[in-house]
Assembly symmetry: C2
Homo-oligomer: 215 residues x 2
DNA sequence: GTCTATAGGCGGATAGAC
DNA sequence: GTCTATCCGCCTATAGAC
């Protein structure tokens, strides 16, 4: 190549290639289960290159994890801050979260586990996003719930508990649904995809119904 | 000791000691994060002894995991099969699950993560318990829900979905509650213990209220 | 920027003395 | 039944050639 920036391009391509491979392997095996050799092999490069670009397994992991959190945020939680009707918001949030899971099933399990091993140094990686993006958007949701209650559209509820309920009702069946489905003797479920889609629909309707009526 | 069975006793004590240490370390660090050296150190014995009693890290892990699952079953899910009133059962199940978590917080995270890495060889470790104890007890719950619906005590619901809802509403806040509480800007929560206890209470009441009324 | 070669340590597992 | 000593392989990370 005679392009003078081809070195730079190669660099970016390789860095990206490693990051993608690392994401794949870390999500599959977790931090402790993944080795730098696994990642290098998956990326089609040598182990030494990982350290050239990312200095250490730990730092590579942090970038992967950061990316996963931000994607999860963009794909589902960001909806909480949008200026739309509360009921539509709840439906959209549930559907988007379900879709995010179905398009990359292991990611949610990975994030949910690794996050429990978080220490403060990890948390500080996100302090900016947390304060400037995440928390303000969630607070939009809280405010909206309070407002609708004052208007009488919904009965008064604790917004934090409501959010916790919604997240719980969607996430756990998604992260552990496949196992639960295997243990299930009640239904004969052929297609997990359809099951999750229908459950998302049904869950959203139940929550909204509960908010409207007095239960 | 002149007790002729003292050898046997030592054996049992040591085996038990290793198993306890392994449980502690595996729960803390996960299978991949834990090393046999960690476990030996925690047990106050040599690495060689682990292999003498359990043959491999894998087999030691299986025993630990098995024990965790069975304890979890005894402490919470077994309630589903008891011959008591449905509403009492739901309350008891929620309270017991919450207590089980509060008495050993990391255990639930550990089980929930490792279970997602399950393969069939692991599943076969429990096939007996599954078929003879677990599933029949869960089916008692399903039957009971159907029966109450026929009597008109509750509105008709899908028993499998109901169980999934209940488990979701309790477990996710427990396994990830501490992180969520740190991110929470809505409440000023001083005492997680009280928060979880109160939430358990409130969740049980909500579910029962929903079952009774038409929502 | 990318490779090979290798350091240095820790992983799980085993042999053999007591 | 319990220990020390040790094997071998894989781990993360680095040095240095190209």
């Amino acid at each position: 190549m005679d392009d003078p920036s081809s070195h730079q391009k190669n660099k970016l391509q390789t860095e990206e290639k490693i990051l993608l491979a690392a994401k794949k392997v870390f999500i599959e095996k977790g931090f402790d289960g993944a080795s730098t050799s696994d990642i290098a092999r998956a990326a089609g490069v040598n182990k030494a290159l990982l350290h050239y670009y990312f200095r250490s397994k730990e730092k590579l992991f942090q970038q992967v994890f950061r990316q996963c959190i931000i994607e999860l945020w963009e794909k589902s939680f960001s909806i909480l801050g949008q200026p739309i009707d509360l009921f539509d918001k709840i439906k959209l949030f549930i559907n988007k979260t379900t879709e995010a899971y179905l398009s990359a099933p292991r990611t949610l399990n990975f994030v949910m586990y690794e996050i429990t091993k978080w220490d403060n140094s990890m948390a500080s990686l996100f302090s900016d996003e947390l304060e400037k993006i995440f928390l303000p958007n969630v607070e939009v949701f809280y405010k909206q719930v309070e407002q609708e209650a004052r208007k009488g559209t919904i009965k008064p509820v604790d917004p934090f508990s409501l959010l916790l309920d919604i997240v719980s009702l969607i996430q756990l069946p998604l992260t552990h649904g496949l196992i639960i489905l295997n243990l299930n003797t009640y239904h004969n479920i052929k297609d997990p995809y359809t099951f999750f889609k229908e459950r998302a629909q049904h869950t959203a309707e139940s929550i909204i119904h509960c908010l409207r009526s007095d239960c």
